[in-house]
């Protein structure tokens, strides 16, 4: 029976065919992220298998298992705990993964990932077509592959593909995304060779053609997908132009690949490809071009395209054949099912924070800001199970930590009431979302999601209600559990003896729009909050100086987004004074102390965003008033959105 969402998104949910394989819909789970959940030797762990079961159940018609490196030395290994496929000893786990995917009614594809320039993570070097030094310090110094070594690498890929098919996969994929070995040969940036593998586009594409030929010979009955850049975003540094990228695609098509997965960018590219500052759908033109150029080859695409409705329109309009999606399914593995049931408002949104990738660069397993379960699938303690004893829970604070705890506890059968002194849910997140330069809709979508889920699940929300000792006395014994998730506050008390302290303004007042600062602003604190508000004010025409006590600004910002803030600071002309503390404030301006001496900064308003202080007062107030008292999010330690959601969830599944 066709479900209501399937009827609405009928192009996306129509069946397809890849080679000899029927596919139930036009959705490809993209191997966008290596999980880093596995053994250092490439063995697949129970944690990974539990995660793959979830991936298998996402509802995608085609599922690409994460990239496995094909060589025994690990020259192709780019991530600390990446899976390997260079030996038959790995077969049993791959067989299980293929079975999970087939059991869920999907086609199974195994990606082979030789990282080239970004590989050799356990070695003292990486291999490339030529010795082109690194631009990112995370990666290893390069060695040039000899022609003999190239032949070996090609054979390793073919062997790996054959092994995957033996394990039960239906097809394989090789990837150049995002600057891996295949891309290194294809690109002018990294391919400086003077032999038949370098020079012209024809020569640079030789490695790719040999790779395709070898895999096709090893697995003649199984489809092969190839991930190729539509745009490297490296052209200013000598990389391929878009025309060259499409010329290389043509070569792949001529060699008989069954699917081209169009990608954007390299890891070291100087501009954004799928961060939160990129408008959804921005890169669709690349896929559309590929589809027009290669009408007889399947085209998959999904860079910065998180919305099934947009994807449906793209399939309808011939922009691509398969929507390649991954990160939105990290945030909500049920998204496809919710889309099929026309319940998109219940989708836990991917906000493009790229927390997943930030962690990989620290050799940590990936996690998701929005999905606290991600990576913990194997742990029963993280699963939402019916509570043994149903309790009456009060949650103080309707920010992300409180709302996450509330809906999780409610799903387990507890009766939950959320109290907040504001007239809407969201806490400080709503205020900061309104000031976000990247895409306010992303952060607002988190709040909208909590609103929808609270209503759907029957969480009572009482707004305009401040929780204090008097209030607690009025509800004494009505609740078994109290969760304090009232957020953090700006610690204005540290300035109380400072001259002009009465002239200071709390950043939250500005973020909420309750205080309109003058033309010239000094912002105390150059962390996430201070910078977000400063950028917003600067864009609105204010002259902003950020005063930061540490050596650098943005110390609490996720590395995948920090560069964007520092660029905005420059672009918007925001002045920064570091290693500085406030000395006094007058109506004429602020005096700060730096290692070079005192400095007077003329300004009309001085806004305080730092230090922030946990809201511990309520813990002391409520300690003797309720059976169980818990704290979560910034109310315990001021941090960020991901920690708030993680802690809220952990409280919800534990109580």
């Amino acid at each position: 029976m066709t479900r209501p969402g399937e009827a609405k998104l009928n192009h996306l949910f129509q069946p397809g065919k890849i080679g000899r394989f029927e596919v139930k819909n036009r959705i490809k789970y993209g191997a966008c992220c290596v999980s880093n959940y596995n053994g250092r030797d490439g063995t697949i762990t129970p944690r990974e298998l539990a995660r793959v079961r979830v991936i298998a159940g996402t509802g995608c018609g085609l599922i690409t298992n994460q990239g496995a490196y094909p060589d025994p030395l690990g020259e192709g290994k780019s991530y600390f705990r990446q899976v390997a496929i260079h030996d038959d000893k790995f077969l049993p786990q791959f067989e299980m993964i293929a079975r999970y995917i087939h059991d869920a009614g999907a086609m199974a594809m195994q990606q082979i990932l030789h990282a080239g320039r970004y590989g050799g993570i356990d070695l003292g070097y990486c291999v490339q077509p030529s010795v082109v030094p690194q631009t990112l310090p995370h990666f290893r110094p390069p060695r040039e592959l000899t022609k003999e070594q190239i032949k070996v690498v090609v054979k390793q890929h073919a062997d790996a593909a054959a092994r995957a098919i033996r394990a039960g996969f239906d097809g394989t994929e090789v990837t150049s995304f995002m600057g891996y070995l295949l891309a290194n040969f294809n690109s002018r940036f990294t391919n400086q060779r003077t032999d038949e593998y370098g020079g012209s586009v024809e020569n640079r594409g030789r490695f790719m053609r040999e790779l395709i030929d070898a895999i096709k010979q090893a697995t003649p009955d199984n489809p092969l997908s190839i991930r190729l850049n539509g745009a490297e975003l490296m052209d200013r540094w000598g990389g391929n132009t878009q025309d060259e990228s499409f010329e290389l695609m043509q070569q792949a098509v001529d060699c008989g690949v069954d699917m081209i997965s169009v990608t954007v960018g390299w890891q070291e590219a100087p501009e954004s490809s799928f961060g939160r500052d990129v408008e959804p759908g921005y890169w669709n033109f690349l896929s559309e071009k590929a589809k027009k150029m290669f009408p007889n080859v399947l085209v998959a695409f999904g860079n910065r395209l998180p919305d099934p409705a947009m994807a449906n329109a793209c399939v309808k309009d011939g922009v691509f054949d398969y929507w390649e999606v991954c990160r939105p399914l990290l945030a909500d593995p049920e998204m496809i099912h919710k889309a099929a049931e026309d319940r998109m408002e219940e989708v836990r949104p991917c906000i493009g924070s790229l927390n997943c990738l930030s962690r990989l660069f620290r050799d940590l397993p990936y996690t998701c800001t929005m999905n606290p379960m991600l990576g913990h699938e194997v742990e029963p303690e993280y699963h939402v199970t019916e509570a043994t004893e149903k309790k009456r829970i009060m949650v103080i604070g309707a920010g992300p930590a409180g709302m996450e705890a509330a809906i999780t506890a409610r799903r387990r059968g507890h009766a939950v009431t959320v109290f907040d002194k504001a007239d809407r849910i969201g806490g400080a997140l709503g205020a900061y979302a309104a000031n976000d330069l990247a895409r306010p809709a992303d952060l607002q979508s988190v709040i909208d999601y909590y609103g929808v889920m609270a209503k759907k699940l029957g969480v009572e929300v009482r707004l305009n209600t401040e929780a204090n000792a008097k209030f607690m006395r009025s509800v004494l014994h009505e609740y078994d559990v109290c969760i304090v998730a009232a957020g953090a506050r700006t610690d204005m008390a540290v300035f109380q003896y400072l001259e002009g302290a009465d002239l200071l303004v709390d950043a939250l007042e500005v973020a909420h729009g309750r205080f309109k600062p003058g033309k010239r602003v000094v912002m105390l604190g150059g962390g996430m909050i201070g910078l977000t508000i400063s950028e917003f004010l600067a864009k609105a025409g204010h002259e902003v100086t950020v005063v930061e006590k540490e050596k650098r600004i943005g110390g609490d910002i996720m590395p995948t987004f920090k560069w964007r803030h520092t660029a905005w600071v420059d672009e918007l002309g925001i002045q920064t004074v570091t290693l500085a503390s406030l000395v006094k404030v007058t109506k004429e301006g602020a005096t700060v102390k730096t290692p070079k001496g005192e400095q007077f900064i003329p300004c009309d308003s001085v806004i305080v965003s730092s230090p922030r202080k946990a809201n511990h007062d309520l813990f002391h107030e409520f300690q003797w008033m309720v059976d169980e008292l818990h704290g979560g999010g910034d109310a315990t330690v001021p941090r960020g959105l991901d920690q708030a959601i993680q802690e809220g969830y952990r409280l919800g599944v534990r109580i």
């Binding site: 010795v131 030094p133 000598g238 070291e268 490809s273 590395p559 290693l579 290692p595």
Partner: protein, 151 residues
């Protein structure tokens, strides 16, 4: 002349002296090189000369000496033969901009030019080595994605 390409060295030295706090944690002997993209042969699609067989061309070297960063002109002998930890490669627009703004806040200028893609850079030490050598403050001040980037 060796020095002409980068203008008056005393102005570069004065800038480095003004920014000395960025370099206080850097180990003695830490070195950066600055070359012109055109002169060095490190050009789009034709970089093999720069990587392998370059003619000797001017390189501005910054090196930690006596607790400060010293600027001087040297000869660039190709990527593989030049001992630097970081190599900055400036295109003609960047060279012109830097010469025009020499004497001003050059680190901001360089940061802007890196961001715009006019200056590319290569690293010859890994993250741990650069951290141990005290590079973090300086490289972050140039807006380089020191701890990795996936955008």
């Amino acid at each position: 002349m060796l020095g002409e390409m980068f203008g008056d060295m005393s102005l570069w030295q004065a800038m480095l002296d003004r920014q000395r706090e960025l370099f206080v944690e850097m180990e003695a002997g830490s070195r950066l090189g600055f070359v012109s993209r055109e002169a060095s042969g490190i050009l789009p699609g034709k970089r093999s000369e720069g990587v392998r067989v370059v003619n000797e061309v001017p390189m501005m070297a910054w090196e930690i000496e006596n607790g400060g960063m010293a600027a001087r002109m040297e000869r660039f002998a190709g990527i593989s033969s030049t001992r630097v930890d970081v190599l900055l490669v400036a295109d003609q627009e960047a060279m012109d901009t830097m010469l025009a703004e020499l004497g001003g806040d050059m680190l901001k200028t360089i940061k802007r030019l890196i961001r715009r893609g006019n200056i590319m850079f290569f690293l010859f030490k890994n993250k741990a080595q650069l951290q141990d050598a005290g590079y973090e403050d300086f490289l972050e001040s140039l807006g380089l994605a020191f701890l990795g980037a996936c955008r």
